[in-house]
Symmetry: C2
């Protein structure tokens, strides 16, 4: 691991220089990365298609989202208010003691280790949101490429290197590590110069990194986005008036991207009724129509087959429908199963994620049993409620309880499709993530990589621009308890 | 532990009700607590004097700070902008996909367990900053009283109960636990209904709680403020012009409150020179003049005697001065020792805290050796630099490196005396705290107990007031990327 030790030493050196760069300089750098990725053109898309089996239109869209993210972070740091500047000016004559001048702002944590994700080769990988937000925050980044798309990752890393040279940034502000061994990941997380970790992937992978990080002599934060089954509560009134529409919407959401989105709806819950039976039949019809498709890599496909098989054998679980088209090797088979709430409540295995195009419908006998089923579901990225306006009001307390255990509550929509905007929270209580207080989508994702520092009684010339009296950057600040620009 | 299980179940029930209370209701409650504490009058001060050996004037000041904190949090939640509301309105006609309506704000985590601190019977104990900030955030609180001041704690808990009744809050929104056993603390932290922990005390205590919390099946955040030796770098120019003044200021800071402040300056660092020798003599003279005083409780006094003795026996450490007044039992002896930087750099034991009126002066041979000594110091709450204006500019890079490892940098002051205001950051990199990203002083302390939730496509009537279109609370929000009120 000598070479990885060097990588962290270089990252630390780069950090010490990069942390002093202005918001303007960082914005130019992030925008240059976006432009260099776009300049890679069609060969990048073709390479990603080859390595991930994802369709062209999806990858073009994901590249757009990735560059859009980079530019949103660029806007954020160019504008500058994100550092949460607070100024309390001195009161030298205060009795019984004078009040000192105090000024506070966010500063970057240090070198960040980012693990690329298999299911988003652009948006959560090499120049994805973890890298973009860490660079925006002023941290250096060591990126461990996901072994399922090494060449795609190398191409994007090359684009970042070009941007580094074009902007005159430190050569090691971003470093690309291709070692896919378990030991390499462990070494990077345990290295004393690593100050934070970003990860998107499986529960077992994320939890292992969390355990390494929290048992270091100096514990560090790990932002691991792990499994989520994204429960969908379908209320009786909605089924009465639009069962077919909901069935169609969910057949699409469950199978979108071969079910390989972290917000894939893996659990649907409702109350038994003739309308629910009708909905189930309509959903079954739609699911049968969706053809199996090749998953990201053989490991994921094998796990899907294994976990789906295991889930279908659990007590009380019955197959509702699967794709009527025979599956080839490494393909995910669109599947819906069902179970009654009584069996569901007795079996914690039924809230484990089956990563892929699989969803389990839990049928309650009553509203009370539906409420109990909610309590059996651990922390999630999202939960969705499908209901008519009047019944949503009737279920207001229930919706409140739902929001207690998730990061995002959706009314009458689908959880798939994560909008990149300031009001998005992509995170949630454990085990959805290791830290429910932070998002991995949207500009607030940069908050993961910073901490506050107070500057007391500083000579004005030594203060960062963000905290100088004349507010040279024109940012929003809380000055003597009042927000001002 | 049956009774503690009941405590957490009750806390959860109280939370489910309290979390829906308006900012106005929470503000009234916090202010009522402050008033009820003041209404306890002199008997509270007398009881605290008896239990902590702290002087009356200090305790009156600390009570004032505690009530001031409660009222600052009341102002914060009454004003309301602290929830970081973000609104991104829908774009139904956007191509290729419509953009949903998304709104985000902070919501409380759940029941919080707070451990009272021995060195601040009011400000960091029963109704101290952890309790006040958690109640402001909308969390219920289980307070484990510090066994060194049980009756003081019970009196303050009684004041909170009165405020609960007066404001009609849930009886269990605050609960007072007097069980001082190690097992009780462990049980509270490991209980599945506990969602976060606040602690101020020793490194061993805080780290043990952190380890319990991170190894739970569902890990939870622990905000433990632990040891800090608060290094003070005394630059050569300052010694040339004001050695006597600095010596006087530091003799007072080292011995203030018998050295029992978390920001006590336990380490001073400088470069050898005739002026440093003169400073050392002046500091010695002042330290000899300060009489020993009784510490908070016999356990702390015994540890001081033990740790001071151990420190003075470390290789190269010599006694510079100690109080000329003989110490009685349970008293802390004002002490300054010195060591050369060469020995300091070889011995990690010398950065361990000696809690009490003790400080170690590290003498470097050169500026370079001073820089090396900085690198040997782990994370701290504060660092101080004493220097003339021109030399501060000369040391700008050094000051930047200092800020890399602390929560607050003070120029030409003393670290003791923690101002309660928005620009204060009281926290710092490990081992000063378990989470450098959050403060335990000032209104931002409430951020420890919340997480964001996004509400997607909600019927307007089901949105919290903070996120409704007409902004009924008149709070600052980021609406479609623009800050607005």
């Amino acid at each position: 691991m000598n070479n990885l030790d060097t990588v962290l030493l270089q990252s630390r050196e780069a950090f010490l220089q990069y942390r002093t760069r202005s918001g303007m300089a960082k914005a130019n750098f992030l925008e240059a990365i976006a432009s260099e990725i776009e300049a890679l053109g069609d060969p990048l898309i073709q390479k990603a298609m080859e390595e991930t089996n994802l369709p062209e239109v999806r990858l073009i869209g994901e590249r757009g989202r990735t560059c859009n993210q980079l530019r949103q972070f660029a806007s954020m740091v160019r504008e500058g208010s994100w550092v949460e500047a607070r100024i309390d000016t001195a009161l030298p004559d205060r009795q019984p003691l004078p009040k000192p001048d105090l000024r506070k702002m966010m500063v970057p944590l240090g070198p960040v280790v980012v693990f690329g994700a298999s299911n988003f080769p652009f948006a959560y990988s090499t120049a994805g949101v973890d890298t973009a937000s860490a660079l925006a925050a002023g941290c250096s980044v060591v990126l461990k490429a996901h072994p399922a798309h090494p060449e795609t990752s190398a191409m994007v890393a090359g684009a970042i290197s070009k941007a580094i040279r074009a902007c005159g940034e430190h050569a090691h502000v971003f470093q690309h590590v291709q070692d896919s061994s378990f030991e390499a990941g462990k070494f990077l997380v345990q290295h004393p110069l690593t100050k934070a970790v970003g990860f998107t992937g499986s529960f077992s992978g994320g939890k292992a990194l969390y355990d390494y990080a929290t048992s270091r002599p100096e514990p560090i934060p790990v932002f691991a986005e792990m499994g989520s089954i994204n429960p969908v509560f379908i209320l009786p009134g909605a089924l009465k008036v639009r069962a077919a529409k909901v069935a169609e919407m969910y057949a699409a959401s469950i199978t979108q991207g071969v079910g390989q989105f972290c917000t894939n709806p893996g659990l649907m819950l409702s109350i038994q009724s003739p309308e629910l039976s009708s909905f189930t039949q309509q959903l079954a019809t739609k699911i049968r129509e969706v053809a199996p498709a090749t998953m990201l890599h053989p490991g994921i496909a094998n796990n899907f087959i294994k976990n789906r098989g295991k889930a279908l054998k659990e007590k009380g679980v019955t197959l509702v429908a699967e794709s009527s088209v025979p599956a080839k090797s490494n393909q995910g088979i669109p599947t819906v199963a069902s179970v009654n709430a009584e069996d569901f409540l007795k079996n914690p295995a039924l809230v484990e994620e089956v990563f892929g195009p699989y969803s389990l419908l839990v049928i309650s006998k009553s509203r009370e049993e539906l409420f109990k089923a909610l309590d059996a579901i651990p922390g999630q990225l999202t939960a969705t409620i499908i209901g008519e306006d009047d019944e949503l009001v009737d279920y207001a307390d229930f919706i409140q309880r739902v929001s207690d255990r998730v990061g995002r509550v959706i009314i009458n929509g689908v959880p798939t499709g994560v909008e990149v905007c300031p009001a998005m929270h992509h995170g949630g209580p454990f085990p959805a993530t290791t830290d429910s207080r932070f998002t991995s989508v949207g500009i607030d994702a940069a908050k993961r990589w910073v901490r506050p520092v107070s500057f007391q009684n500083f000579p004005h010339g030594l203060l960062p621009a963000e905290l100088q009296n004349q507010n040279p950057l024109g940012i929003w600040r809380m000055v003597n308890n009042t927000w001002t620009k």
